[in-house]
Amino acid sequence: MAEKTYLQAISDGLRQEMRRDKRVFVIGEDVGVYGGAFKVTLGFQEEFGPWRVIDAPLSETAIVGGCTGAAIMGLRPVAEMQFSDFISCGWDQLVTVAAKQRWRAGTPVPMTVRLPSGGGFSGGPFHSQNPESSFAHIPGLKIVCPATPEDAKGLLVTAIEDPNPVLYFEHKHLYRRIKAEVPDDRYTTPFGQARIHREGDDVSVITWGAMVWTAAEAAQQLEDDGISVEIVDLRTLVPWDKKAVLESVSKTSKVLVLHEDTHTGGFGGEIAATIAEEVFEDLDAPVKRLTAPDTPVPFSPPLEKAFIPQVDDVASALRELAEY
């Protein structure tokens, strides 16, 4: 057990898995000599050689499609997108080939795509997006969004082990900001089991990724006013832990669904709709959503601050609910 950043947890988890399982290899732009844009694979090529840590050409389609083929041939590819934004260039391969191959043709595609995502440091419209909602709509893809170093490692190992295409969204704004104890040994964190980041009685927040920490700060604020907030960290969007969400909502009878991605058609809608359908009778207030507005992600700090839900935004949404 040692304190590690979220980034180190990812890196260590991946290295450990590569040492354990020769079928695991890494491919992506600049993952080799350079160690990846965020240095997750720093030193990997030296340890595992150039055919297990592969510098790909600037070709997201070939990377995703290549991993699909290699996975079907029995390897366990881990692709790195330099930024999650660029997965748009691999969209067709993922949704057309990888996602549907098991159901259609019985061929499992055990591959993982690592996607550094999210904003908070003026990355602008193309280096800050949270594209998880788009993919969560496609049957056949699993979607992982860890919030803590411990989950970052455990969910990555589960992703690599999973016999399906898994999109692993690692939030860049957590990379070096969030540190915690991470077990040294190999372990897996199951998909589809939410984590109660904080227990509470008055209002539930359903969220994932970096927003877990924003919600936690807001909950802290509200505690001083005597409002007790429960935070449910989904950890994975596909599958998502409906049971945990509905239980929390039934307990508090008020809920805020929170995400960093834009509003319309975001995955928050799915969660809110499910709550409204399944525990309608338990609700004492409308199902509220707090998200980014329907715009691209802005570059300039004051705009970006207005775009990404801030602690104060969450706190006032929670207060409003509590007072309903």
């Binding site: 050409p57 699909t68 083929g69 098991r102 259609r104 043709a105």
Partner: protein, 348 residues
């Protein structure tokens, strides 16, 4: 300016033997071509009988190209054949009754009624099921080759694409990655001169699709796709070259799509004389003539083969028609794989 090499036709039995096929093999090739065409001809009838839902696509004219390439593959090699490549499935050993079941959306088709047409494959025979999106299987084929390279296996992946689909980005990214990394993959272009209604000069601006190979650092070859032996010889060369670590080859098989794009299309846009010209070079008839001239195929033996194929297909059809329609309650199963699904020859 043509850049690619233009392959010679094949001449004598001796030459063919040197390329690795004995007389038994040749008759097998002929048989596979007959089965291929027979399946698709019967498919047409099934379609007209209203037994095939949706649309229906065939590869008439492409039998030699498909069978020729597949015959050059070794057992442990893999491939991603397309909608004109029924001959690949047949050559790799897919049972015809399963294909009829697939056509008719029955539970015993390789996709159990989930997908239609030639959108199927038996992964135990080293084939990967195509998607409609063209040529999305090329990057996947390259990924197979990448796996072979990583594990240092002496296996080769074969990826098919149409001349129309050569215009898409997937084709480029796949070939470029394969060229840069000298992966053991062979790209086979089924150039049947039409992409639906679109002629080649609106799809690419070179003389041959194979001229593009240079742009990826490997060799391009154009071969007459109605000459099964020439296709075989060039494929064998390319596959062995790839197996030996010398990287990819692009083989362009020149044919004509002898029917409409699909069953609903009468191909009014194809000049009549084009059909006539290519009809005189029918791949099956051509090979039959060659076998009679060079390999002593006689009437009796030929009859035996023909009637054997007929019997096989009739039985296949009966068996397929007995296959039930899939159970709707199974619809939602298997969207996600379980660890047990990985228990296949390739995944281990």
């Amino acid at each position: 300016m043509a850049i690619a090499r233009e392959a010679e036709p094949v001449g004598s039995l001796q030459e063919v033997k040197e390329a690795g096929l004995d007389r038994e093999d040749l008759l097998g090739v002929y048989r596979n071509m007959l089965i291929t065409r027979g399946i698709e001809e019967r498919g047409h009838i099934l379609y007209k009988q209203g037994k095939i839902p949706g649309s229906f696509y065939t590869g008439r004219g492409n039998e030699a190209a498909a069978v020729g390439v597949a015959t050059a593959m070794d057992d442990q090699d893999v491939g991603t054949p397309l909608h004109r490549d029924m001959g690949v499935h047949i050559s790799r050993g897919v049972e015809p009754w399963r294909i009829f079941a697939q056509y008719m959306g029955r539970a015993d088709g390789p996709t159990h009624g989930r997908d239609g047409n030639v959108h199927m494959a038996d992964s135990r025979l080293g084939l990967l099921a195509m998607v409609s999106h063209l040529p999305a299987m090329l990057p996947v084929a390259v990924g197979c080759a990448l796996a072979f390279r990583i594990r240092e296996e002496k296996r080769v992946a074969v990826g098919w694409f149409g001349e129309g689909a050569s215009a898409r980005g997937d084709c480029h990214e796949a070939m470029n990655l394969a060229g840069v990394r000298k992966l053991p993959v062979v790209f086979v272009c089924d150039n049947n001169q039409w992409a639906y209604s679109t002629p080649t000069y609106l799809e690419y601006a070179t003389e041959h699709v194979a001229d593009r190979a240079e742009a990826y650092g490997f060799e391009g070859v154009v071969v007459d796709g109605t000459d099964v032996l020439a296709v075989y010889r060039e494929s064998r060369r390319a596959i062995e070259k790839a197996r030996g670590g010398d990287g990819p080859t692009l083989i362009e098989c020149l044919t004509l799509r002898m029917e409409g794009h699909a069953v609903h299309d009468d191909a009014f846009y194809v000049p009549k004389d084009m059909f006539e010209r290519w009809a005189s070079s029918d791949p099956i008839e051509r090979f039959r003539t060659w076998l009679r001239e060079h390999a002593e195929l006689g009437d009796a033996e030929e009859d035996e083969i023909t009637s054997g194929v007929k019997k096989l297909l009739n039985e296949a059809l009966t068996r397929a028609e007995e296959s039930p329609l899939p159970d709707p309650s199974s619809l939602a199963e298997g969207v996600f794989a379980t660890p047990e699904d990985l228990d296949t020859p390739h995944h281990k």
